[in-house]
Symmetry: C2
Subunit: 342 residues, 2 copies
Amino acid sequence: MTAHDATQNVRIVLAARPRGEPTADDFRVEHVPLPVPGEGQVLLRNRYLSLDPYMRGRMNAGRSYAKPVEIGEVMDGGTVSEVIDSRHPDFRTGDMVLAHGGWQTHAVADGRLLKRRLDARAVPLTTALGVYGMPGFTAYVGLHEIGKPQPGETVVVAAASGPVGATVGQIAKLQGARAVGIAGGEAKRAHLRDALGFDVALDHRAPDFADQLRAACPDGIDVYFENVGGAVFDAVVPLLNDFARIPVCGLVAHYNDTTLPPGPDRMPWLMSQILTRHLTVRGFIQHDFIALYPQFLREMGGWLADGKIRYREDVVEGLENAPRALIGLLRGENFGKVVVKL
Amino acid sequence: MTAHDATQNVRIVLAARPRGEPTADDFRVEHVPLPVPGEGQVLLRNRYLSLDPYMRGRMNAGRSYAKPVEIGEVMDGGTVSEVIDSRHPDFRTGDMVLAHGGWQTHAVADGRLLKRRLDARAVPLTTALGVYGMPGFTAYVGLHEIGKPQPGETVVVAAASGPVGATVGQIAKLQGARAVGIAGGEAKRAHLRDALGFDVALDHRAPDFADQLRAACPDGIDVYFENVGGAVFDAVVPLLNDFARIPVCGLVAHYNDTTLPPGPDRMPWLMSQILTRHLTVRGFIQHDFIALYPQFLREMGGWLADGKIRYREDVVEGLENAPRALIGLLRGENFGKVVVKL
């Protein structure tokens, strides 16, 4: 936001529920007076806003992880925020915190709900929205609690240049497994292989992608970390080993779907694969395993300090560009973690 | 077998691989000389043969739990058998054992592979093929390791008058959960409700079955013990609670399928339900948890002795009737555990 008026809150609300892919018209910018913190609250100036695939689900009326954003409500989102006024004894002006500030320049939050104070000297602040925050924690608990990769096993993950996928592959490597990453385009492939240390990186757009995946997994697949669905899942299922585990944390290829795909109906086939291959398929969000958060901060903090886990961020300038950036993210146009600088 | 010639082994082999529902022509009766036990082996006279839904899978060439029965090979199956000649120091003539004797009057077995000696004074011998054997153990470990019903939760199981389903419902009740059983026909319904203590028993053939199931589960479904698939699964999925668990041990409604059903393709829909409802779907066979077998024998032995778990058996007379009985079992014509008396 250029020339920001410090007496106003600029915010983006849900203007309409998208059918299929969201468009700019589904969002509306509003200028409203600054909110005033009550007793026990703080006033936040949001500095960075996280954009994540789950936001598409919140734009629908239907049941998803959480209640939907209502029409006219501010779009939901995690933020790195600065305390600019405090009526809570634990926070002072100038404190940086991880908050759920939403798509807006300012927000009021209950001090007791702000669980994490941030220290820019330890790791860059933006990592609290990515590798050292919700997406990194998603990767961590999905492997720790469901995927459980063993040394020598093969772990496959799609959207592998994104903050969840990139972290999945690197943790799998740290645990002695083979990591096969899938992403769109040659630049992402090179990044996975050369910067992040994946054993193999594949482009899901290749016409012979399913054959490439088979060749990349000569011993089959033991863990498929599911965050996309679609054609990647179709190519993965026939390669799953007995006792394979599938943590399911996202299905971004389907978030814009408005109807079921044409037949035949493969649901009974999937169930028969689950049965005869002894598969475990489990849906989760990171919050299901929130008890592991302190352990994650400790372990991931060490990996980041030691350079054992790397990450990449796409920083978008200005709140007004958030809608376009989310639309792009849902198309797979981002490279790494998408953060909007406010 | 009437007028059995004690110098001959009568056996039923797989004559042809069925397409869809098996027919009598897929089986062939053969008379062959008695096998001769080698060193460390015993000669068995099979007394009871277990018939189970998994046998349909073994008749296919494709990948399933285990390698298929080859054309011309004896049909696979668990048996209660009497040792009639022993060349193993641990077994004597007259010992009754649980064996994998197959569809035949006689078999040779390695003594070291015969893990369980049976005592008819404790529980009836045939229970080793049902409630106190593989089907009961399937129910036990599916709940113990995957379903994990909590007091007050709702557990739903189909084929509920069969040996797995009946045991699932009764163990769920012992653990303080509500048990909703599904079976075909009024007689089975009454049995579930009146003899086995299910809270609700439904007939899946009712035209308004899905509505009945919804009414029977006012608090949703926490555990669905999947052993049939098909229309029951379709009715269950919309009722699943967040964090529901689905142990998958069978899909008998689909065993005779030769093609996928027509569209739309509900596979992505199922995955999105798994994701947004935090479901766990896990395929297993009882052998995956074989370490729990001693614990099962102890606990189930106590329940049977105390009359806390009941069971029902359909005894079919004569090996020559086994093919017809298996075909009927796959149609849901049996009432309880199907055992062939040889």
